[in-house]
Symmetry: C2
Subunit: 655 residues, 2 copies
């Protein structure tokens, strides 16, 4: 690989591949999000920014983009995948991205998913037109991750056929609610549903209701307390606020009752008997928000890399002495290995995440069209969404930070966009599910698959299981199954014999790691429980192991998606280039985790060192293509908005 033949890059082919199934949505966004109205801005006051974002949202409503996510019955186009892709394209100002997500995705999405036809017809047209701006009031001050323990109550009063929505104390107030501080007229409020029973009230767990919060003039309604969360690190165009309810009454029909109905007399019924299953089913219908956040994090990452890589390709610093064949000259900073190492492995991972995201959105979209609910497929989707959201948003935070540093003082100036991208996307690691909690949730699901497939294995069962091929059914392939299997079959076997760039070896290695970490964890938890350990303690002392299992799983998922993505590339030379980028992804993941691979004797010490050398080689080999590889994401220049990425540095040097 130290000899890397030059390759041609077919830009149209690559753009088409990256634009993927919803290319038309991306094109539409490129078309709509233009000009003064949508251009990145900085230096606005919070109030000015909020006003601008609200106005932009109204503008978007007129383009038809909001229709993607809604049923045809109310004038939507019922194209869930398109709605996620549209969201992620709004990187020119991420406040608009999130505001749109709140209005159409969370508020409208909850009405769609948890309500029934009656609610759809009544509310969704106004949601789409933004005639009815609304909130998704789930999180409370005291409970964020642990949604099941929310403490707002909705108590049915049969006498008036109303629910009484109430905030018992400060812990139960709704917090960080987008659209609450300024614009929202109604809120989908999640509350513990109570109906009267013979021996006192009956609890039915968390349900959602439509609660009006402001009148036509924008004044809080009686019984509703509203407070502004005030300035935040970023996203200051979004008006987050807090909500209290003091015995607010809403009609019985405004319970979003797809998964739980209350009859006029107060009788509760649900299509799902088990309250726990009901709760998780309801939450599961809201998965789109999480997937959208992963996508939005991806676009923010791409934008920051676009700025930093373009700048690094023109910015020069320090001099390379004259050689026989050239005069002394200042070096472009992207020619330094250290700079390549900052940006290019991050670019490679961004590509991998892009393909994984495309696959996830496609899966979400497919499942949304299936009549009969497939429990297993739904659970798999939710787990993968949790995992991808976690790793994509961590990657965004880390990469944008790196881009800031890679641009030096220029990267600190608001005019160069990176500060805003960093500050805006920063919350992505903890909203729509805290990443640590999500990764843990993913691993728990993987462990559950274990139990489902094999029952509560005894020691012997486990040993047999670890030796066998049965694992295949637990580690589900996410795409292009035959392709992956063919590549693995072609690998020359474990260890040093395979070339460092052998894709079959990569796939096998990642799968082997996932399998080993997960099996080790399962065994460890089982042993500790058998020894009489307290369930909480047993899980808690293994928490780092739990998180590692989730990461190992996602590394494999991303790799397989990357491989499947390249397989769809119609141009041979471009595919070759993408394969080098995929090599860089794989080998930098191996390098990062070489502690594990060495500890578990999956790599020899010499091969481990060779991996580091190969990462350096790949960085050098990919450097000439770096700018075109970021340009292929197709973010408009005006979305990047940063003078340093748009020729300012180049022009200055030309003086």
């Amino acid at each position: 690989m130290s000899e890397q033949a030059p390759l041609t890059l077919n830009e149209a082919e690559l753009r088409g591949l990256l634009d993927g199934c919803w290319a038309h949505v991306r094109e539409k966004a490129r078309d709509v999000v233009q000009g003064e109205e949508y251009a990145p801005v900085h230096g606005l006051s919070m109030e000015e920014h909020r006003a601008r974002t609200s106005k932009q949202l109204l503008g978007l409503a007129e383009t038809g983009m909001p229709a993607y996510g809604f049923p045809e019955s109310v004038g939507g186009t019922d194209d869930i995948g398109a709605s996620v892709v549209a969201f992620e394209m709004l990187v020119a100002d991420m406040s608009l991205m999130v505001k749109m997500g709140v209005q159409f995705g969370l508020f409208g999405g909850a009405i769609k998913a948890l309500g029934t036809d009656r609610h759809h017809r009544r509310y969704l047209p106004d949601v789409m037109s933004v005639a009815l701006p609304g909130c998704f009031a789930m999180t409370e001050t005291g409970h964020g991750s642990d949604v099941q323990r929310l403490r707002t109550t909705a108590t049915y009063d049969a006498a008036t056929e109303e629910f009484v929505v109430h905030t018992p104390d400060e812990s139960a107030r709704k917090d960080y609610i987008g659209n609450a501080a300024r614009d929202g007229r109604m809120a989908v409020v999640f509350a513990q549903l109570r109906t009267p029973g013979q021996d006192g009230p009956l609890d039915h767990g968390v349900h959602a209701l439509m609660v009006p919060i402001r009148d036509e003039a924008g004044r809080p309604l009686p019984g509703v307390g509203i407070e502004d969360c005030g300035p935040k690190a970023g996203l200051n165009g979004v008006d987050n606020g807090r909500l209290w309810f003091d015995g607010v009454r809403v009609p019985r029909t405004d319970l979003l009752d797809r998964y739980g109905q209350v009859a006029a007399d107060g009788t509760y019924s649900s299509p799902i008997e088990n309250p726990n299953r009901r709760f998780f089913t309801m939450l599961g219908t809201l998965i789109r928000g999480r997937i959208s956040v992963a996508g939005g994090a991806g676009t923010a990452t791409k934008a920051a890399l676009g700025i930093a890589i373009r700048y690094a390709d023109t910015r020069r610093q320090f001099t390379r002495p004259a050689g026989e064949d050239r005069p002394e000259q200042e070096v472009r900073i992207l020619d330094y290995l250290a700079h390549q190492r900052k940006l290019l492995p991050a670019l490679a991972r961004t590509y991998g995440l892009h393909f994984a995201q495309e696959e996830l959105v496609t899966r979400l979209h497919e499942l949304s069209r299936v009549e009969e609910r497939d429990e297993h497929a739904q659970r798999e989707l939710e787990s993968r969404a949790a995992g991808l959201k976690a790793i994509a948003t961590w990657h965004a935070t880390e990469t944008i930070q790196t881009c800031r540093e890679a641009c030096g003082g220029s990267g600190y100036l608001a005019e160069n966009r990176i500060p805003q991208l960093k500050a805006d996307s920063d919350i992505f690691t903890t909203f729509e599910g805290d990443n640590t909690v999500l990764l843990q949730q993913l691993t728990k699901a993987l462990l559950t698959n274990f139990q489902d497939s094999f029952g509560d294995l005894d020691q012997l069962g486990l040993a047999r299981f670890m030796a066998g091929k049965a694992f295949e059914t637990v580690i589900e392939r996410t795409a292009a199954l035959p392709l992956i299997e063919r590549l693995i079959a072609a690998a020359p076997g474990r260890g040093d014999e395979a070339g460092l760039y052998n894709r079959g070896w990569h796939l096998e290695l990642f799968e082997d790691r996932e399998k080993h970490v997960l099996e080790g964890l399962a065994g460890r938890l089982r042993r500790a429980r058998k020894d009489g350990g307290d369930a909480f303690e047993v899980f808690n002392v293994a928490q780092d192991h739990v998180l590692e299992a989730g990461r190992a799983h996602m590394d494999r998922v991303v790799l397989e998606a990357f491989v499947a993505g390249i397989d769809r590339c119609g141009d041979k030379s471009t595919a070759k280039l993408l394969n080098r980028l995929c090599d860089l992804y794989v080998l930098s993941v191996i390098e990062e985790n070489r502690g594990w691979f060495l500890e578990h004797e999956r790599l020899s010490t010499s091969r481990s060192k060779a991996v580091t050398a190969a990462v350096n080689d790949l960085c050098r080999g990919l450097r000439p293509y770096a700018v075109r590889l970021v340009d292929a994401f197709g973010l408009r220049d005006e979305w990047l908005g940063a003078p340093i990425a748009l020729g300012a540095e180049h022009r200055r040097q030309g003086e």
Copy 2:
């Protein structure tokens, strides 16, 4: 270690230890920086913030704090160490910290270091009182890291006995200059000094001059162009700007001429013949700024950890089921291993860095009092300052980011301070020297020590050298030499025999790594050069190795400072606790770098796994002391300013 006996922590003793040599300065800062005037704020416009910061600076000037850094001849107290410590205490608003640094440290410091008595008497009293607000105009748009190639010129005109200061083009404009956009009246301008010679102008390299930029009314002077850098990610109380000079004339006497004089007739002379040595000597006198930034990064880290750890100690989420001896209860998030792993190794490293910083400041202070310049000691100080600045500021960026995530949505609200700490300190990794450049500079100095001690070693020489003890003279001990040597001597030897918690083994292991990485690098560079490699290419392909050598060196420096710090602790039980914290520092560094230790067979696979288990054990063992360990830094509650760290969460739960 899984059995960790409870320890008492003597809070006064620990505070005294951390406050160190300049405890009186810390106490003074605690006394002065109080009340409405200095309290953290958010939500100000840039103009409001700048006005507030300027006012605060004037307030500080009246407290006598600026006097620390200035000579007694002009009313200062000539206590360099105190001036650095005073700077780092201003965490209530880091805009004030940086504004103070610009005025007294950079502007005043340059006059002090590069000027002579004449300049001191004329300017420094007004610098101290802020009657003369000033700028340190070094960085240009085209040259930041590569100061030697600045392009502003100062050409001597013997006819008028003036220097003509000129900006030839946009690349040469001064950029990111603090105090330039709003307040500065004069600037220390770094420019290429030219005097007339017989065959055209003679170049003398970069020198500094006093250049007036605004009149009494605050208007730019003729020939001076000033532009505002506009809003930044943070530090918006500091007015950064750009400066152009169009043939601005300053009197000959306003050249800061300690290292280079121009006689009336234009004859140049300097106490340092070699222009390269002169340049680096001049830069070296400005080292205090870099050391101050390392200290400021440390305080920002401590503040963020203070907020996140106090919050994590009260915040509860998810329920632990009832056990035989206790009811069901919600778990404090600091009781989760994953949360401990986020915050406690970072706390341990913060302690280590604190001690390393104290040692560095002490060294700076000592050298400032020595009459005769000690070249070797000065070079060692500069290298260590470069390395510590790099690792301390990266640690700050990473840790504050982690704290943001650890506080969830609360950590995203401006009122909880973390966004401001993050945004303000973000530039620390690239100003006063880009970290990557600095770390490289450190390694180059370490390699130079090689050459100095042993000449240009041939292959044989290198082999002999690698086997021998000669390395000791290269890897200088930073403190407590006899103590460190005693501990190493007591270590039971390399490898598995030593207990995981044996400090002698730790010290030996870190030293061994540094030595091996550095020797490997030296050999690799030498071989590549011998094989006829181009000097730039040879160095560039090894750049990751270069950076690793710098990091390995600093890990050892920090460890030795930590050990020396604990040795100063007068309370046995407190010292024991600090030793556990030091264990956590060491073992988490080993864990992080276990890829290297395994590759180089410094750890067996089983011992490597044991290190991970030990980190978990230590986290659990230290968790009960975490709040007191951050409180010991002695940052006033009002400096933290965050409601979530000051009882809001606790009160809420008490409802």
